[in-house]
Amino acid sequence: MMGAISLKVNGHVHTVDVDPETPLLYVLNDELHMRGPKFGCGLAQCGACAVIIRGQTVRSCVVPVGAVKQQEVTTLEGLGTPEKPHAIQQAFIDEGATQCGFCLSGVILTAKALLDENPKASDDQIRDAMSSVLCRCFAHVRIMRAIKRYQRGRA
């Protein structure tokens, strides 16, 4: 069942020897030691495992790694670095928009994917995009402020 699978993540090509049915999330965490995407529910209901593939957020806990093929995967740590954060990460840093931080892959990547595609998204459209993302610390006030800050900054 195991087999060498080639995977492009955050600009680097990796080869992993896993069952192609393995969820992408497990490969990112266990084989590639990435900390951005996280196991929240394993059911694609919360967003903690989100990554970006072809400009769209994807719940990596339910995507078999074998289905990713040659498509590049971007994770939260692929956006920017602690020394040089991406503008949306900087907006979240500036707003202090977190408590425990476990939800941030879903929050930041979902907002980024929406605003990359539709920079002038209305508040309703932002809310709609975030309606399948959870933050159980309920840092909603700051998170929404950070998303708006990023949106203003990229205009």
């Binding site: 969820p23 529910c41 394993g42 059911l43 209901q45 408590q99 399948s132 159980r136 840092a139 006030v141």
Partner: protein, 770 residues
Amino acid sequence: MKKEISRREFVKTSGALVVCFSTASFIDPFAIAQGPFDTHMSHVDPEKLDSWLAVASDGTVTAYTGKCDFGQGMFTVQTQLVAEELCVSINKVKLIQCDTSVTPDQGTTSGSQSTPTNFNARNLAQAAATAREALVGMAAQKLGVPADQLTIENGVVSAKSGRHVRYGELIGDKHFDITVSPSAKRRSPSEWKVLGKPVPSMDRVALMTGTFEFVHNVQVPGMVHGRVVRPPEIGATVANVDEKSVQHVPGLIKVVVRNNFVGVVAEKQWQAAQAAKVLKVTWKPGPALPAQKDFYDYMRKLPSREVMLVNSNDVESRLKSASRVLKATYVHPYQAHGSMGSSCAVADVQEHYATVWSATQSVYPTQHGVSALTGLPPDSVRVIFVRGSGCYGLNAADTVSYDAALLSQAVHRPVRVQLTRQDEFISENYGSACVIAQQAGVDASGTIDVWDCETWSVSFGGRPGYERPGNVIAGMLAGFDPETITPRTAVEPTGELRNGSNAVPSYVAGCITGKCGGTGSIRSERVLTHAVKSPFFTGPLRSPLRLQNTFAHECFMDEISAYVKADPVAYRLQHLRETRMIDVVKAVAKAANWDDRPSPKHDHARTGTVTGRGIACVAYEGDNGYAALVAEVEVDQASARVQPRRFVVAQDCGPISNPDGLRNQIEGGVLQGTSRALGEEITWDDRKVTSTDWQSYNTLPLGIEVPVLEIVLIDRPAARANGAGETAITLAAAAIGNAIFDATGARIREVPFTSGRVKAALSLCTGMSK
């Protein structure tokens, strides 16, 4: 001898939080279960300054704390504390949190007790003040200048002459070898340079860039993966485990069965998940569950452990002579911690030692739990705290630590266990369901003359503490007994008033043999609590029982003020004595521009969308922080949908250590409280829990219309430092419920306020009014 007493004192203050984060009903059994605390003292002696602090030759300060950060901001604010007391900048301080091999045993990080424990004149704060005085003393000797003529600036001690010496030169890398001085002078809030400032959380850059290490990210050499197979229902027992059913799963290392604990270990996580899914386990069913629709009645009929918190012994006669008696019963469901991340831990259990990487709130108690499970002496078990996702109390962090230890011991390799969402939802230690029955008598002038309150809460298991690994599911399955209820009749209260997790309403005087410890003025008073056996595990969930009780008290207060046609703010003030309570109520009313009139709005429309405002206030556990909340809501009377539009909070937690962290806690608390008020509820059928994921357990997602949130902080530099993380959440359900009543005239006495319940209340009130 002196040492023994102060040790006990230390542990008492640390241990107090176990009591404070548990229910009123838990107090006695926990006291017994925990035993005399000093039998559990760690090798890290809290009397010694070196247990708390070290200064390196480069001037870096390493501080050790037994209170850890789950996202509530304790890391940043404790770093500020140490920096402030030592007069260094925060980037010179390295804080080590909760590791049984190096940090003092401060029990459990819970119950809004971290700030009271470490920010008042003891423990971490006092150690840091002692270190500063010791360093100044050394500098005085070295410079030949009296200590009181020296100044400190960022770790450099200077004389007026300009001669100076650095901390690192004075003590660098050596032990202080002194005890923590109770008389060391704390820096006064008027001198603060680091504390009291809105320092942003120090972990935010790592979090935002996906580089922060959670317990889920811990990887150790040789680590393999475990999953558990939980019984489908609480109380089910293993009849048979068919190991052959997983023989074909690649990478399988072992099927582990110990008593009723079942788990699998495999080389890779996906293989473990597959094995757990296909492993054929035959379970002998547990007892049938009581019907959910009758559960609150069922609770009231069970044998109970009673505690009489206050009793003026004149309640019956005063109720008889009152000009009007009002009665109402409020109910609150079981709710889940529902952490974002399903819980995870890594354990490496070898023949003579064990290491556990755990997101537990209680490293030392977990050390003892793992010791009991593995048979290793406690001293041979090291538990290292690594942050998990926000826990909001006793989530499954403890149980998954046990799971990992059991599986690791069986395979002699380090094992990482990731629980599934369903594992956690079906068997976590839920926040308690409650029934609160109220009656009050008002006199001819409309003043409350008598308040009588009787509460029922459910309990089974709870925090494992040092001696009860069976209090969480993994420990029970492995063969340890959970704490359960021993029925007992109440005795008359004596001594100091016990607040009993806010079972005592804010408006009663709380008099016991003439000494009145309550925050209110009502002298005819009785509060009787009952703890009954829960069919599910229970444990502290953010503001445990305080939230449920406050919902009932603050809604009932509103009902009475509506009956006497008084303004709800003025009526509260009329019955409060405690200045700090009065101040938060006045401050919130002013900031909210409170519409001063009785509820409900007399001219509210019977159809369409209507608006209303409600207030609630609390003295958390009687004296650990004060807050008042005004909620403004919209109610669509056709769909019965409730939409909060604005919240205004006033909060007083003594001297404010970090206003930004405090605001963050208040914002999150009010909205988490809103989610709990509007949707969250554990559900079950005749055998098992049916709310097992985010579709069957309601939570408010990020896409809601976030209400306007305004916060008034009341700083009290001279007061004791109070907790602040659980105060605002305590008020959300009550303030929203009161606002719904104001808007519609419909009173909802059951949480959560689902559209079905709002609809029923609306039709009831329409029926009554016409």
